[in-house]
């Protein structure tokens, strides 16, 4: 195929949003097959229903130790007082003039706490905690917010079942479908 033909195929895709009904277009096909082991190493995201959660477990008590060592300097004693984002409290403030958005008052999914802490925290050493440490510090933050009990164990089964208090206050706007240009 000439460059011109290839570009015509590409234009078909770009301008007309795919030429429905035509034969599959020719593309360079330069991706190499990813192995399951490679994917497992890269895939760190957790779905809101818990898919992707790893093995391991932790309790609020275990998490308190992790928090004191790895988080408190930035997020304050028991998740309040900063200097960085407040992680605890604020329930009942969202409709006020000074809403306080925290894991406890605002976040719709508990799985997000695990996903985010594992990918991004502690700020200066992301990806340094073990999965059980992430479960533990997640459990600690959920317990400080009064969402789970002090003895509750967080793991791949229990974490997705935690119902966050503000979950039902999110209105999902139907994703807008752009016009084809």
């Amino acid at each position: 195929m000439s460059t011109r033909e290839a570009l015509a195929v590409a234009t078909c895709v770009i301008v007309f949003g795919g030429c429905a009904g035509t034969a599959p277009r020719e593309t360079p096909n330069l991706g190499r097959a990813a192995t399951q082991a490679e994917i497992a190493g890269w895939d760190i995201s957790i779905a809101p229903d818990g898919r992707g959660l790893p093995r391991g477990a932790g309790t609020p008590a275990d998490g308190a130790l992790v928090y004191a060592q790895k988080c408190q300097v930035c997020h304050g004693d028991k998740g309040v007082g900063g200097p960085n984002d407040r992680l605890v409290g604020g329930q009942g403030t969202l409709a006020s003039k000074t809403p306080v958005r925290t894991i406890g008052s605002y976040w719709p999914y508990a799985t997000t706490v695990f996903d985010y802490v594992r990918r991004s925290m502690p700020f200066f050493q992301p990806h340094s905690l073990t999965d059980s440490e992430v479960y533990a510090v997640t459990a600690y933050l959920l317990s400080l917010n009064g969402i789970i009990g002090e003895q509750d164990v967080m793991n791949a089964e229990t974490l997705p079942k935690v119902k966050m208090p503000n979950r039902d206050n999110f209105i999902l706007v139907q994703p807008w479908k752009p016009r084809v240009q």
Binding site: A10, G18, G31, A34, E38, I39, S45, D115, S120, F170
Partner: protein, 432 residues
Amino acid sequence: MRPRRRDRRFDDARDAAGNGVLDRRAFLRGGAGAVATGAFMAYAPSDASAASPPETPSGMTTPGAPLSPYGSPATFEREVTRTLIRSQPGTTGAGASRTPLEALEGMITPSGLHFERHHNGVPTIDPAQHQLLIHGMVARPLIFTVASLQRYPMESRIHFLECSGNSALMYGATPPTLTCGQTHGLVSCSEWTGVPLRLLLEEAGVDPRADWVLAEGADAAAMSRSVPMAKAMDDAMLALYQNGERLRPENGYPVRLFLPGYEGNMSVKWLRRIKVTDTPTMTKDETSKYTDLRADGTSLMFTYPMEVKSVITRPAPGLKMTGPGLYELSGIAWSGRGKIRKVEVSADGGQTWAEAVLAAPVLAYALTRFRIAWKWNGAPTVLKSRATDDAGRVQPTRDELIAQQGANVVYHYHAIQAWRVESTGEVKNVYA
């Protein structure tokens, strides 16, 4: 400059709106170049009434600077920088820097002045090491090198990028006393060149039950956002070039996602992974952040397109008017829902309006430059601009916007901006 001729022409020009806004064709009549230059001068931050330069300036009597491998702005422009650089306490790369809008003209933002919003700094990525994984609900999970992406058919598009939190201080009870760029400079516009994401998704073979993709960056925040499949398959691009050169590190080198019209946070930089999924992943930056908390305590989620918006950039806070006379009002307008259809300008606080000239090209999801002539009588007044897009959406007033959603939203602020011009020539941000 020929001030006498200029004056005569403008005496002839019909008023298009109250308080000296002139017919929009005023500058377009004969000899416009010279006139426009004269008007631009009025916005120079410093007074230009110095003594005449020598007849033979030193630059004409000695050879100039040597050829150089990579150019940079004139040393006299060193104050034109990104502005209001702020990071979270104790950090240096979790925050934003803003485009100095009042110092720029045209529709393109120089790459070095493109605003920044990072969540944990700018990673250093060797393109020879970087790879992009596409996996999840696909028939063939694939890994692409950067070199392989460069062999795909590319497209080039001029698009704005606006942080969802741009202008957020305008939700506050009192107007910020900052420059135009410090208040509204989380928007920039570039020519982006890259590979349509759709081509790669089709090679991987998307499961028809998949409705979303998760995009993840290779930075220390592993920034991640869910994107509707409809957008991924429509005009989403894997951008490799910005304004003709490879992406700047701050803009996602070596490859970023680019989603025209959508809030900037979703155009994930340093892209390393696309996971095809059936549901949104509900990452931190689409739940805790980038959701719109309304007055009643409920929040809107997935409010993606940036709404129709405009701002006058000259004059604006950061620039000073230099006495009564003829000026050109200049500004930018944009909409995440399409093209700008018109921009109206008022020089009497919104009582009367006139349509500004839109500078070609007027493109979908791009900054559009508007201009109109204004004869300032030296009295204090309030300037405003109001944009309408091709979907017929009109920029609301601040009161209308806040009445609709409350003042706790943080994101998607796009109300009409009012600048008060004082008789001293100072320009201030006001709620009016």
